[in-house]
Symmetry: C2
Subunit: 144 residues, 2 copies
């Protein structure tokens, strides 16, 4: 294994580890008010930009899961009044998802919760934050 492979592997391990650690913090192991959102529900809220509805099939793609899961996921968010299923103008098979005002509010609450002053992400320098964003944007926009 070359040096580069080992570094890529280490980076992957750390990225996954971050996810599990922040998940614990979001519950309450790390303090803060519990918002009663599962990681998947919270992620969906952030994948839908306020004012920019998202088709359900694209949501399944970005989540990296089977479309059948999205049905139940959206059912639960919709029953709490956080998102709405709307008709798509062009294609009557497609349902697009829009955040409700309540969904938009909860979305920004989760953001505050994960970036509080005492939390790891907020303790990075401004330079580190920007560097991290730049690298992650390449990772996330790339082909999987």
């Amino acid at each position: 294994m070359t040096r580069g492979d080992a570094d890529a592997g280490r980076a992957w391990q750390l990225l996954v580890r971050f996810f599990f650690a922040q998940r614990g913090a979001q519950r309450g192991l790390g303090g803060g008010v519990p918002l009663d959102l599962s990681p998947a529900q919270c992620h969906v809220l952030h994948l839908i930009e306020p004012g920019e509805p998202m088709p359900m099939n694209r949501l399944a793609d970005t989540l990296g899961c089977d479309p059948s899961n999205v049905t139940g996921l959206v059912d639960r968010l919709e029953s709490r009044g956080l998102v709405r299923r709307c008709a798509s103008p062009g294609d009557r098979r497609v349902r697009v998802l829009a955040l409700t005002p309540a969904g938009t509010r909860l979305r920004s609450q989760t953001l505050k919760q994960m970036t509080g002053r005492h939390l790891p992400l907020a303790r990075l320098t401004a330079d580190e934050q920007r560097t991290l964003i730049r690298i992650l944007e390449r990772l996330v926009d790339d082909e999987w």
Copy 2:
């Protein structure tokens, strides 16, 4: 909201998004042989260093989940012969987990699968990989 808060929020969104994207790739949406490991099982395999047994309570801490989950998680890994529960020399309440040879092998297979030449992580420059690791190590070692 200050600029720094917004950057921290953006970084968090991207980190979570990476997790969901790579999860899809690991299954087969992105090619490769399916190894039949859930994200949590795969992560446990990587939290146990070969030759360095890990107590179950520390595993629950790092996973950011309740200790009761670890029981079932380890049950499934143990029934596949990937990890072993061992006695702890000092404290008879504690069980430490060790990778079996099969577990060690599968661990490196998952690593190869996520860092393949055509995948996003491998396409970062060597500098980017090292920078990413340095920042993530600060995030992950920090207090939650």
